[in-house]
Amino acid sequence: MLGGIIEFLLLKQSLPIGLSLLISATVVSLIAVLIHRLFIAKTKNATELSLIIMTIGISITIRGIVGILVDKNAHPVKPFLSFSSVSLFNLVFSSQYVIVIFSTLVLAFLLYFYLKKTLSGKIMQAVSMNSLAARLFGIDVGLVQMSSFAISGFIGALAGAVIAPISFVQYDMGIMFGLKGFAACVVGGFGNNNGALIGGLIIGVAESLSAGYISSSYKDLIAFLIMILVLFVKPSGLFASKDVERI
C-alpha cells in the first residue's frame, strides 16, 4: 500500500516512472528497517503472539497516518506505458497486466536465486528455521532479520506500485493483497516458493472465472473459499515440501 501511495505522490510531482518506482520501493524498505529497529528489535521477551499483535498495531498505525496525510479516497494511477494494450497471438492484453506478470516472474526468479544460490540467502533461511542455532554459529540474527524486513518491504512496495494503475491506490488497499498472498501460500503449501506461485495462479484464475460466471462482487470470496477448502482437505497445501511439519 505504501509503495502505491508513495508512487502516486511522486508521479503527481511528474517524476519519471522508473525513478518513482525505485524511490518508492527504497523509501518503503527504509521504513521497514526503521520499524524493525524501533519496535521489533526493541521488544524484550517477545513471543510470537506479541510480535503478531505488534505488527497488527504497526500496520493499522501506518494506514491511519496515510488515511489522514493523504486521504481515504481511491486514486487512479496512469499506466506505465503510453499505449494501453498489446496484442499477442491475436489476444489483446492491457499493457499494465503484462508489466505485472513480467515483474512477478522477475521478482520470483530473483528471490529464488537469492535464497538458494547466495550465501546470505542461505543464512536467511537458516535463521528462519532455527535462529538459536544460527546465533551459535556467529550469525548476527538481528542484522539478518533487518535485511529480511528491508527485502520484504522492497518487494511489497514494488508490487503495490506496479499494481497501482490497475487497482487504484487507497489507504487500505494492502489488506486484500496480503490476504490473497496468504491464501496463495496456503493453497500452494508453505515453505515452497513455486507452490505459492502456482497457488496464486490457481486463485487468480478461479477469481476471474467466478467474476465471469457468477458475479464480480463475489470475486474476493473465491480466494478465501478455496483456501478454507484446501485447509480442510489437505492442510499442508497442494504442493507442500515434505519436511514442513505444521502440527
Partner: protein
C-alpha cells in the same frame, strides 16, 4: 479479594449507576459498552487464556446479528427463538470452521481468521437481496421479557448488564476449573498440555466455539436493541478494536479487560472530533503495550485472586 466477590461489587456498582443516571445518551453508551464487554470476554477466553488469536471476531458478531434479524423479520419468528437459533448456528459454524483453522499456528492463524471475518463481511455486503447490503437491514421488533417491552435505554440497561455479568461469571468458572489450567498450559507449554492428557486441538476448537458463542450472542442482542444493522459495524476495524481491548486490559485478566473495554468503547463517543485519528491511537496503543507493558493492566488488578 476473590474474583467473584469483586465481580459482585462491580455488579452492584453497575446497577447503582443505572439507578442514579437518567441521561439516555449515557445509558445507551454504557449498554453498547456492555455488548462489547461480552464479545471481548469471549475473545479473552480464546486469546488471553488459550493464546490463540482471532482477527475475525467482528464477523462472528455479524453472523449472530444477521441470522437472528433475518429469521425474525423475514420469517416472523419470535425474537428470542431467533436469537437462540442464530447463536446456535453461529457457534456450529465456528466449530466447523475452527476445526481446520486451529491446526494453524501464530501468524498463519491470524491470517486465516482474518480471512474468515472477511468472507462473512463480503457475503453480508454483497448479498443485497437478503441482507440489504451496504444500506443495512432493519425492521427488527423490540425485545420483550415476560410481557415487559425493553423499549427504552434504561430498561435495556437493566437487561443487558445482568446478562453481561452472568457471562463473565461463567467464564471465570471455566477458567478456575481443570479446563482453565489446560488452556494456560496450551498457551505457554503445549508439550506439557499433551503430556497431561489435554487433546490440544479439540480444546482449541472448543474455546474458539465458546468465544464465537459470546460474539454472536452480543451481535444478536445488538441487532434487536438498535433495530438496524449494516456491514460497516462488523469489519476488520472492529475485530482489531476487540484485540486492542484484550491486549491493553491484560490478556487473561477479566477486570483489566472489563474496564479497558468500557473506557475504549465509551471514549470514541465522547471524543468524536478525533474520529479520524482513532485507528492511529489503537495502533500506537498496541505497539506501546507490547513494548512496555506486555501484561496490560494486569498489575493493577493483581490483588484480586
Amino acid at each position: 479479594m476473590k474474583k467473584k466477590t469483586f465481580l459482585l461489587l462491580l455488579f452492584i456498582l453497575t446497577m447503582a449507576v443505572g439507578i442514579v443516571i437518567k441521561n439516555p445518551f449515557i445509558l445507551n453508551m454504557l449498554s453498547m459498552a456492555a455488548l462489547t464487554v461480552i464479545v471481548v470476554t469471549g475473545l479473552n477466553l480464546l486469546l488471553g487464556f488459550a493464546g490463540q488469536i482471532s482477527l475475525g471476531h467482528a464477523g462472528f458478531v455479524a453472523l449472530g446479528a444477521y441470522i437472528s434479524s433475518l429469521l425474525s423479520v423475514k420469517l416472523g419468528i419470535n425474537p428470542w427463538v431467533a436469537i437462540f437459533v442464530a447463536v446456535l448456528a453461529s457457534s456450529l459454524f465456528g466449530a466447523i470452521i475452527g476445526y481446520p483453522t486451529l491446526k494453524l499456528k501464530s501468524h498463519y492463524l491470524a491470517m486465516a481468521t482474518l480471512a474468515i471475518g472477511e468472507i462473512i463481511h463480503i457475503v453480508v455486503n454483497n448479498y443485497v437481496e437478503l441482507t440489504g447490503g451496504p444500506q443495512g437491514f432493519s425492521g427488527m421488533p423490540m425485545l420483550s421479557l415476560f410481557g415487559f417491552v425493553l423499549d427504552n435505554e434504561t430498561k435495556f440497561y437493566f437487561f443487558i448488564w445482568p446478562v453481561t455479568f452472568l457471562l463473565i461469571l461463567l467464564s471465570i468458572n471455566l477458567v478456575e476449573s481443570r479446563f482453565g489450567r489446560a488452556y494456560k498450559a496450551i498457551k505457554s507449554k503445549e508439550n506439557a498440555a499433551y503430556a497431561f492428557g489435554v487433546n490440544v486441538h479439540m480444546y482449541k476448537v472448543f474455546i474458539f466455539t465458546v468465544s464465537v458463542f459470546y460474539a454472536s450472542l452480543a451481535g444478536a442482542l445488538y441487532a434487536f436493541y438498535i433495530g438496524f444493522i449494516s456491514p460497516s459495524s462488523f469489519g476488520l476495524t472492529q475485530s482489531i478494536d476487540y484485540i486492542v481491548m484484550v491486549v491493553i486490559g491484560g490478556m487473561g485478566n477479566f477486570f483489566g479487560i472489563f474496564f479497558t473495554t468500557i473506557i475504549l468503547s465509551v471514549l470514541p463517543n465522547i471524543l468524536t472530533s478525533i474520529e479520524d485519528y482513532w485507528p492511529i491511537v489503537n495502533g500506537l496503543l498496541l505497539i506501546f503495550a507490547m513494548m512496555v507493558i506486555p501484561n496490560g493492566m494486569k498489575r493493577l488488578f493483581s490483588w484480586i485472586k
